[in-house]
Symmetry: C2
Subunit: 352 residues, 2 copies
Amino acid sequence: MDQQFKKKATIYDLSVLSGSSPSTVSAVLNGTWRKRRIKESTAETILSLAERHQYTTNLQARGLRRSRSGLVGLMLPIHDNRYFSAMAQTFEGHVRGRGQCPVVVSASRDPEEERRTAETLISYSIDKLFIVGATDPDGVHEVCEAAGLRHINIDLPGAKAHSVISDNYEGARMLTEAIIRQFGNDDPLRPDELFLFGGRNDHASRERIAAFHATKRALLGADPDDGVQSSGYSPDITLRAFEAFSQRHGKLPRALFINSSINMEGLLRFMAGRPAEMFSELVVGCYDYDPFASFLPFPVIMVRQNFEAMIAKAFELINEPPTAPQIFLIAPELIQPRSALKGPLDTLKDIA
Amino acid sequence: MDQQFKKKATIYDLSVLSGSSPSTVSAVLNGTWRKRRIKESTAETILSLAERHQYTTNLQARGLRRSRSGLVGLMLPIHDNRYFSAMAQTFEGHVRGRGQCPVVVSASRDPEEERRTAETLISYSIDKLFIVGATDPDGVHEVCEAAGLRHINIDLPGAKAHSVISDNYEGARMLTEAIIRQFGNDDPLRPDELFLFGGRNDHASRERIAAFHATKRALLGADPDDGVQSSGYSPDITLRAFEAFSQRHGKLPRALFINSSINMEGLLRFMAGRPAEMFSELVVGCYDYDPFASFLPFPVIMVRQNFEAMIAKAFELINEPPTAPQIFLIAPELIQPRSALKGPLDTLKDIA
DNA sequence: AGTTAATGCACCATCGATTGTGCAAGCGCA
DNA sequence: TGCGCTTGCACAATCGATGGTGCATTAACT
């Protein structure tokens, strides 16, 4: 019955009910009452009233007054991807652990959208912003800077704020090497049989491509310069790249370095409708980890970016006093084919 | 230079600069100025000042005054899953299209956490809440109801608010049938060769299990009653279920009905370290769609829940005047092995 | 000229919580 | 009794935007 359909209780309601002033009620409810020398018994009265009337703080009012909201933002390129969604999962755990409220939004890898999204979040007075895989991190930085908002880049670096990123060069080096070593000595891979698909003109892609070239040259002795087919972060564009390649050469290469799981979906689209046998000799290296991809009918070597470490490092940095922007590299891990790793979900409890 | 390190501009700043009152500035900036009969020239002055000083509305202040925030919430069980993250992606598109700000949070399938999360969101005066796959939808309902918050269940139904869910019975029927038909007439599947793994005691699992039993009985003539191994929504528990089964029977069944992609990850964990040949005869039906899973080295028939339609229907319903709670079934689609479908990402543009 | 109506905007209370300040009552002590 | 200190709390301004109300001006019209 109580407050069934009435509006939510406020400190003013409790103030009337308890006979104390609103400021006393406020202090009791937000925990600053000892500092304000409120009697213990007064506090108890108010707390029990609050409970009885199901009081909950209006966080917008608090946020307005304090000019921060208790919200912590995570800006992703997209949701629908294991790498980013695993990151979101890990991020939530951290934020919840600090008693704040995580807000996860995506900005579609569109610089304009990224800035708009940041501005919207700022309008809600979020306390911190973690910028993941932004196409234009420095654009977002300007927006945050102007609002005095603490922020940090993850996955793709910016020049104007700290960045925590995967060691893309080393990851791609390991991956390229692993692809090459996957072929035995009887029938070793030739330089013109290993191609890279996917990627844009972003920092990660550039590093990976550089490592790809260097490693090919180092291990295979040569590196024909048509070995890279940038196809953005889009399954369909990647599909078309495979189709074009296959049209030109009559088949796919024996070995592929695929820049991300999104590009890998382009390969799946290419495979769909084509006989499985066409791919039985294929060896794929993919710069991303997805448990299902790891068990495809051909060897898929993957790179698992250590997003837990990246998020942890980012939280560490964002709380430190600001210094000159720096890039922190986090080592990724090479994952052999047919590996089903634990993920952030494994820490959740479940019924038996 | 302008406002470089000053606080953000407010309507009061603009009011001083423009010589108009704060209320006039407010009206101009929020678009209600025609209704308030503000002169066009006044509006123009203020708008240009706003632009020059990079004014942005403090949405917490607006939210406090209007007692709604422009935030629309999506509560997921988890992020790290293609089904749910695809849903988040689609949801964001809808919310953005309506000029509001999407907030996606997860609640770990924990009833307590679900309620707490809802309360937190309510404290921020969110306008609407979409509750996806909640373990205790009715618990969340109470919280929303008490706050007068519009809300709707998706994926798992509640008794006290509208629910938009997959037609789990029909989906499982199709899936079970497809699994059975996957075996030719030479060596047809026997009833004791098809097992269901995964699921909890939730509505979806119950429906699927019922359809599984009924379809087995209808098509195979019998249905031994140990055919179902509930193992929650946890890869590891599912792994243990497979290990136990394999210990008991010396091998896995020839055919598996797997309740979700999460349980499917349990199968992957089982496969890891075991020779691929062990699974060459396996046929799997999975109630979920994941493009990579679709191309595993054995036939994987999948059910793709139509989350786009579910989200669309939910948006339709949540804006209608409330009526008695109803359940709306959305037909899922049976996906043949080796299918790489388009997803929500395909609507994003990408550089070529 | 005088009345009415429309125009253009200012005033002010309000949303709910926070926080600096001030003051009365109670107490110890000379 | 009187001074000063502590205890316990109330007061009131404030965060930034909103929207109902009402008051001048000017325009329209008899």
